[in-house]
Amino acid sequence: MAAETDEGVSDDVSLSGGQIIAALKQAGVEYVLSVPDIHTSLGLLFPIASDKDLRLIRVCKEDECIGIASGLSYSDKRALILIQYTGFLDSLNAIRAVGVEYKQPICMMVGLLGHEAGKLPSESGRCGVRIIEPICDAMGIQHLLVSDDADIPKIAPAIEVAYAQSKPVTILIGRRPKA
């Protein structure tokens, strides 16, 4: 999927990439499946790529991640799918089939590139950002917004629930995490 590119969005809200990665490990994530996203590139993907406790699988297109995560889950191996919202939108049929109808534990961390500080995603001027939560609602996919450090403790329990109940979850990254 051709991702949207950097527009230099910045704000003063603190969102620690290191704490997010720690939360992933706390949830037992061993694999990260990803197409790069400038929104999470510095704060998450570069640190993950050099983290010896996580195995990064770089894929060519985001819907590959849905199949890989499903295959891993049959042997209780946990994966996080790290993609941009454009890739989430491009993968909707795979998410629908494998995550929703097959009831597989598909855990997605979705970068909301261009999400404006101080606004809810539903208030965004960007169509792509604005429609993600309603799409999740329509598909019955649990979602949570992580916009600052105070939100990070919600990540590990959400992943635990996804695997315990074998269902998908979408973790929306509303701010650019800091490395």
């Binding site: 694999y31 699988i57 770089r58 894929v59 060519c60 297109k61 819907d63 590959e64 991640c65 849905i66 199949g67 890989i68 995560a69 499903s70 295959g71 891993l72 889950s73 049959y74 042997s75 209780d76 191996k77 994966a79 049929n93 795979a94 629908r96 089939a97 494998v98 109808e101 097959y102 009831k103």
Partner: protein, 189 residues
């Protein structure tokens, strides 16, 4: 050109504890020929069979994973060849059943029936690539193909044997997924 049912019957004689990931027409015919707990039916999201197979292969390096992909399906996920070529799972054997048509969707031709899938897989980084168009050759080499270090790719040049009955509710059944997971857990190292 091989008859698909004859090709699959030959393959079935070499399948024991491998997980077989099959999709659409291949899944229907494989399930009729060799119904078993260790079958994994990848349907509902066309094109993902190879990706499901990669996930299974990563999670269980002790176990061989055999993918029975479709030509139309693989065309929807050609990038997975590159991903698999990069990951280099030694336990993955990836077949594409090439009959040149979208059989499950009216048998319309794929965009280019002359596409060289094995050539694509070779350039994507698979360790070994084969083309099988004759049953005797397939029967002679299949044992080696299934046992060698992967990722291995094989194009099966096949033709439809007969009209298939697409019983998706049976293939999709949640009980099959639960049984597969239980069996993988039971045999985990």
């Amino acid at each position: 050109m091989m008859k698909r049912d004859e090709c699959f019957k030959a393959l079935a004689r070499h399948i024991s504890d491998q997980v077989v990931v099959a999709t659409y027409s291949s899944a229907v015919e494989w399930n009729e020929i060799n119904p078993r707990v260790l079958n994994y039916f990848s349907m509902g999201a066309m094109g993902l069979a190879s990706s499901h197979g990669l996930g299974l292969a990563l999670a269980r390096p002790d176990k061989r994973i055999v993918v029975l992909d479709g030509d139309g399906s693989l065309l929807m996920n050609l990038g997975s060849l590159v991903t698999i070529g990069a990951v280099q799972p030694k336990n993955l054997v990836h077949f594409v059943c090439n009959n040149g048509v979208y059989e499950a969707n009216g048998s319309h031709p794929i965009p280019n029936p002359k596409v060289d899938f094995s050539g694509l897989a070779r350039s994507a980084g698979y360790a070994a690539c084969y083309d099988f168009a004759e049953l005797p050759s397939f029967e002679q080499q299949i044992a080696h193909v299934l046992e060698q270090d992967g990722p291995v790719f094989g194009t099966l040049h096949i033709e439809r044997t007969r009209p298939l009955t697409y019983d998706y509710p049976t293939l999709y059944a949640a009980e099959k997924r639960r049984a597969l997971k239980a069996e993988l857990k039971r045999t985990a190292p």
